[in-house]
């Protein structure tokens, strides 16, 4: 018998639920452009640029025109050459700016990753140092100081208040508050404790209070922070499947335009030869089209805009996730997030506020309401779960029952096997046992203890379940008397505000939301209806979750889920997008392909949006890039051949100043549009959850039609300015 109330950790504060705000990105600071310029110039190295075939072609062309300009220097030749080089530099600048944002973040992380000294325990056995003060002889005797870099998985270290945790691991003993601001940016400390789902600690974070024993799980250099640094720096960024596919399409288009431009030469020479009267121009002589003009035409036609911005879009997409404190292990996972068909959401903490609260006590079979309230309160005094405490609070508010100190009581903690908790009281020598818990479990207990159960209980339980509440049946058994059910506590789940709107948005995006809950089907249905999710999985066990994921995937669907516990790990690994909570176990973090540092399960919705936004930005800029070519043709083709075939002047619908100004304007526009679109590439195209048709209509209008019209205006404006340059 013990009278000591069990030590219960304070519940980590969940961040307040975010409203349905939309994905936004940071704004581009013009100074960033200047700061990234050295990097951009460094990227002119052909070995680096080779990875971007479109820009590589531009660079080769630029080298070629530089040679030509040196051989036959004219104002036009040098200006064109200069702008061709700028095209490459601007493309590099886009990538450098995108990378620059990650670099600052990596710097902060590196500071957290400074070399620390670990206190390694040798020959530690469970129980050695877990008594709270941690100062018993055994634990300290075998302690040795080693540099953190030398820690190996399986090593046991002890960390006390003020120490920096030397490496990633699981708490095997003790409980402590930890400052994880180094990785999460969140200043409020979090609780880490042994056992359970909040046992993972991250190297580089700082213990603020108490003492914990940690089993190291990662090799040095592969720690979470190390991976995070690599991630934000984009050190080993791999092209994602869609990016590879898009690159193939862009390469194919480039080849077509290369052929179109290269085969134009014999046609031009022939045309010039049959129109002998036509005078030579800077663009066309009897030797054909000048090399500079051919390169200009090629550069204007190949999809330089998207080719320049493609990698920046990818980096910025990852960056947007990181800004939301989500770490994705690969860009592939981010892309998969955009494709998700089914979203599995844990009810608790995601759909509902997490703590169910007592809402009503319903007595059964002539039991007095007060008696029920008394028993309910007694059974919950030691229950430190939010539900238990809410019962005590409700009993006090509604029935004026104060909290009391009970002696001679044995607490019966909740166990998954019994599915109930309670208390055994010694009232004047008589044992009184009170139990509360799931209806089935408690009613069985009543029957096992000689009582019988009335239909009344079942009616009340069903009523509460049907309304979305969780029924807890309270029963008591006094010595020598049969057990009896006293009544039912209605625990109500509080659905987070704004969830319905978010689920509606998901539905518009074609994503089915499935709520996972351990509740019975009736309760689950009511909450599902209240929150507006599409489906629910009631009385879910971890293997049920796994089965659901596999079933969905067999139908070709992509599934996203969040999880934190070790028993979530297989499902997290199976899901296409598995977001592990940072508070979770390291097994969960290993299994998922993303980690949410804020441990906010609703973040999944934002992750999906970021994934979609990433793809939309690529598609939109590809469309824009190709649509631009139309106007460039109208500028360059008449400029090249109007001297031979004056009729082609009809194509010069922009009425540009001169052939050379027309070609130069197209080249300048082609370069400037890259810079103009860097902010869009970094921020991502505006995305509002809507149907595919609505999205396509809008993006086609803005980037397709806009892509056709914009260069006509842009080239004309540039032409108006550069015609003032003498010699153009």
């Amino acid at each position: 018998m013990s009278t000591m109330a069990p030590k219960v950790p304070p519940v980590a504060q969940l961040p307040p639920p975010r409203g349905p705000d939309r994905v936004r990105g940071g704004l581009l600071d013009p100074r960033q452009l200047i700061r990234s310029l050295p990097d951009a110039l460094r990227k002119l190295n052909p070995a680096t640029l080779r990875r971007k075939p479109v820009m590589f072609i531009v660079e080769i062309g630029s080298v070629f025109t530089t040679v030509l300009a040196m051989l036959h220097p004219t104002v036009f030749a040098w200006l064109t050459t200069g702008w061709l080089w700028l095209t490459v530099v601007f493309a590099n600048l886009a990538e450098a700016v995108a990378e620059g944002r990650g670099k600052a973040q990596a710097e902060t992380l590196r500071r957290a990753n400074r070399a620390t000294v670990a206190r390694r325990l040798r020959g530690w056995r469970p129980g050695d140092g877990g008594s709270g003060d941690g100062r018993n002889g055994d634990g300290r005797g075998d302690e040795e100081a080693v540099p953190a870099q030398l820690l190996r998985p399986g090593d046991i270290v002890v960390v006390e208040a003020g120490d920096v945790i030397p490496g990633d691991g699981d708490v095997v003993e003790g409980i402590a508050s930890v400052d994880e601001s180094a990785i999460t940016g969140e200043s409020a400390p979090v609780i880490r404790e042994s056992g359970g789902d909040r046992s993972a600690v991250t190297g580089g974070t700082k213990v603020l209070s108490d003492r914990i024993v940690v089993r190291i799980t990662q090799k040095p250099g592969e720690s979470f922070i190390d991976r995070m640094i690599a991630l934000v720096e984009g050190a080993n960024r791999q092209k994602t499947p869609n990016e590879i596919a898009l690159n193939i399409l862009l390469a194919a288009l480039s080849i077509i335009f290369l052929l179109a431009v290269a085969t134009l030469q014999p046609l031009a020479i022939y045309s010039k030869s049959v129109q002998a009267f036509a005078s030579d121009t800077e663009a066309l002589t009897r030797h054909g089209v000048s090399g500079i003009v051919l390169v200009s035409l090629l550069v204007c036609l190949i999809p330089t805009t998207i080719g320049a911005l493609l990698s920046a879009i990818g980096i910025a997409g990852m960056d947007r996730l990181i800004q939301r404190n989500v770490l994705a292990t690969s860009g592939r996972a981010v892309e998969a997030a955009g494709d998700v068909n089914t979203l599995l959401l844990d009810k608790t903490g995601t759909v509902t506020l997490g703590n169910r609260q007592a809402n009503e006590f319903t007595p059964v079979d002539d039991v007095d309401e007060k008696v029920l309230a008394d028993a309910a309160q007694l059974s919950s005094l030691a229950d430190q779960t939010p539900e238990g405490r809410s019962i005590v609070v409700y009993a006090k508010q509604r029935y004026g029952l104060r909290e009391r100190q009970i002696h001679c009581a044995t607490w019966v903690p909740f166990r998954a096997a019994t599915r109930m908790s309670g208390v055994d009281l010694d009232e004047d020598g008589q044992v009184r046992r009170i139990r509360k818990g799931a209806a089935g479990a408690v009613l069985k207990w009543v029957r096992d203890n000689g009582g019988h159960t009335s239909d009344h209980v079942a009616t009340v339980v069903d009523g509460i379940s049907a309304s979305g509440g969780t029924p807890l049946v309270v029963a008591e058994a006094r010595q020598d008397r049969p057990a009896r059910a006293l009544g039912v506590i209605d625990l109500k789940d509080v659905v987070k505000t704004g969830m319905r709107e978010r689920f509606d948005a998901m539905r518009r995006m074609g994503i089915r939301t499935v709520m996972i809950t351990g509740d019975n089907p009736l309760t689950a249905r009511a909450i599902a209806a209240e929150a507006g999710v599409d489906d629910f999985l009631a009385e879910a066990k971890p293997e049920d979750k796994m089965a659901l994921i596999k079933r969905e995937q067999e139908g070709g669907k992509l599934v996203a889920m969040t999880g934190d516990g070790t028993n979530d790990a297989p499902a997290l690994a199976q899901a296409d997008v598995g977001v592990a909570m940072n508070t979770g176990t390291s097994a969960a973090k290993e299994a998922g392909n993303m980690v949410d540092l804020d441990s906010d399960p609703t973040k999944l919705i934002e992750i999906v949006e970021i994934g979609k936004q990433l793809l939309i930005t690529r598609g939109a800029l590809t469309t824009f890039s190709i649509a631009n070519d139309i106007a460039k043709y109208f500028a360059i083709i008449p400029a090249m051949f109007v001297a031979v075939y004056p009729g082609l002047a009809a194509l010069d619908i922009m009425r540009l100043h001169s052939p050379t100004s027309a070609i130069l304007s197209a080249v300048i526009f082609n370069a400037l549009i890259i810079v103009a679109l860097i902010p869009l590439a970094l921020r991502g195209v505006r995305y509002t959850p809507s149907s595919a048709a609505a999205l396509l209509r809008r993006n086609l209008l803005v980037y397709g039609l806009g892509g056709i019209v914009a260069p006509f205006i842009g080239i004309k404006l540039i032409d108006l300015i550069i015609q003032l340059i003498p010699g153009i």
Partner: protein, 552 residues
């Protein structure tokens, strides 16, 4: 009836007839391509060839079968042409020269039917019947077979099998092409087309001159020429010859026949993928492009600003007076929109812009509606490219009919799209760089350039129509155009079959509200836009120095 209202009636009645044929013909093709039963004749054929008709092939097996069949066809036809003087009914004609035999063998095997010779004075009757006409059936059936394999790729999931080439080939020949060819031939004979084995006879004209009037098995070749989008005429004048195309209504029937299969195949596609709306969307894409083209040729031919056209009411030069300008313009559009290449007027004599439209029709890649089968697989590949860009814009990994368009699919589709422009541009560029090839041009300047561009465009897209003007019977053109036709036919087929294999292996993604709807007007419009923009971007420089330089 005024010529204009006759033209409008011609076009309108064609549209109505094609729309009416869409569902029944498409459904019939669907049954032919998916039915499980084999007729007794078919079983006999399979037994003779040694094929198990119930065993299906992987995409590579299918591709090997197509390649083997094509190789045998080219070889057989080549030998046939080279040995023609030893054959029965050779009419005493000498063997066909090696370069011309190569060109012709490839041309008929690839469904191009480019003819660098005047058939009535070069080929004997047996060669025409047992060589060229046989290929008119076979090459059309090959196109439909390949299209069927691609559609099976969309329709099936998690399989490596895309169908049985031999079954597809035999069924299309026996159940679709032959019956129509036989019935059609009777109609043509009734209308006045000749059908005999005569060597021809000499006639005395009013002016007192003697003219040789060649006869032959014309009507039997005529129907499959159009129905199989082949286009190789019995006479050099092709469908402008009264023995091939006797009256106004046979002219209408020819246009109908050359479009009906290609326009109805999307219906079979829709049936096979289990969603008729998808087939209709593809047919509408084809129809929009086709109608636009027909209207444009007619507009340029009828409303030309030149002195003579204004005096006679339309650009009538090179037009067969029996048919009139609008009907000829529509024929020209139809024959180039499909990969037929039969002509009932001389495209070379069209106005610059009026002649540019047939050229542009072929540059579309023969997809509106294109050749038998090749039109469907061509437009589906373009739809795949469109889906890829559009799919990204709706924020999902692009998918078409539930199949993900990933790196492999984009690679195959891009290579497909790259093949014909590469052949056209490199071929034209090389020809224009060679003084030798330039010597063949009838006209100099932009019109001459158009002639060469037209020749390579026609060959690479397996159309086979000629702009005329160009003397194509030289070893340069026979050889290069032959090569262009062969690569322009077989490489895309291999890529399409590869695509079919990679699609068939996939597990389909179930559609949701976030899925791009590929049957809606928005998507239809986008495919039309993508086709036009890609073609414009690819060919505009070359067009600028040809028809545009001439016409603007």
């Amino acid at each position: 009836m005024s010529p204009t209202s006759a033209g409008v009636l011609f076009i309108a009645s064609l549209m109505v007839a094609l729309a009416a044929a869409y569902a029944p013909v498409g459904d019939y093709l669907y049954r032919v391509l998916t039915g499980a039963r084999h007729s007794r004749v078919e079983r006999g054929v399979y037994r003779v060839v040694g094929v198990n008709p119930d065993g299906e092939q992987t995409w590579s097996g299918y591709a090997r079968a197509v390649l083997a069949f094509s190789a045998v066809s080219v070889l057989f036809l080549y030998v046939f042409l080279r040995l023609q003087n030893h054959l029965w009914l050779s009419l005493g004609r000498p063997p066909v020269r090696p370069d011309q035999a190569w060109n012709t063998a490839v041309s008929f095997t690839t469904n191009t039917d480019w003819q660098s010779y005047a058939a009535e004075s070069t080929m004997g009757h047996l060669v025409q019947m047992a060589g060229l006409t046989v290929q008119n059936f076979a090459s059309a059936a090959v196109g439909i077979a390949v299209a069927a394999a691609l559609v099976r790729g969309f329709a099936r999931s998690r399989t490596t099998l895309v169908g049985n080439f031999w079954v597809d080939l035999v069924r299309v020949c026996l159940r679709v092409l032959l019956p129509v060819a036989v019935i059609g031939a009777l109609l043509f004979v009734a209308a006045g087309a000749v059908q005999n084995l005569s060597a021809g006879r000499d006639a005395h004209t009013l002016a007192g001159a003697t003219q040789h009037v060649p006869g032959g098995p014309v009507a039997s070749q005529e129907v499959i020429k159009e129905f199989g989008t082949n286009g190789g005429g019995f006479y050099n004048a092709n469908s402008a010859h009264p023995f091939e195309n006797p009256t106004a209504w046979t002219n209408w029937l020819q246009v109908f026949l050359l479009m009906v299969v290609a326009f109805s195949l999307p219906r079979a596609f829709g049936r096979m993928v289990g969603d008729n709306r998808q087939g209709l969307a593809i047919a509408v894409i084809m129809a929009i492009l086709a109608i636009g083209s027909v209207v444009a040729v007619n507009a340029f031919q009828v409303a030309h600003r030149g002195t003579v056209p204004q005096a006679v009411g339309a650009a009538a030069e090179g037009v067969e007076v029996r048919f009139g300008v609008p009907q000829s313009a529509t024929f020209a559009a139809a024959t180039t929109l499909t990969s037929t290449g039969a002509v009932d007027s001389v495209h070379d004599s069209y106005t610059a812009l009026g002649g540019a439209i047939p050229l542009a029709n072929m540059m579309l890649g023969e997809v509106a509606p294109g050749g038998t089968g090749s039109g469907l697989y061509g437009i589906l590949v373009l739809a795949v490219i469109t889906v890829f860009v559009a799919g990204l814009m709706v924020g999902r990994t692009p998918e078409y009919l539930g199949k993900k368009i990933g790196a492999r699919e984009v690679k195959l589709a891009s290579l497909y799209f790259l093949t014909t422009p590469a052949l056209v541009l490199v071929g034209t560029g090389a020809a224009m760089a060679s003084t030798w090839a330039r010597a063949s041009m009838l006209n100099s300047g932009p019109h001459g350039l158009s002639e060469v561009l037209y020749a390579y465009t026609s060959a690479a897209n397996n159309n086979g129509s000629a702009f005329a003007g160009l003397t194509a019977d030289t070893s340069w053109y026979n050889t290069t155009l032959g090569a262009v036709m062969l690569v322009g036919r077989l490489l895309p087929i291999l890529l399409v079959l590869g695509l079919a294999g990679s699609l068939a292996a996939q597990q389909p993604v179930p559609p949701s509200a976030g899925t791009l709807k590929t049957h809606q007007p928005l998507f239809v419009g986008m495919v039309v836009g993508v086709v036009l923009v890609l073609v414009a971007l690819t060919y505009l420089p070359a067009l600028a120095l040809g028809p545009l330089a001439e016409g603007l």
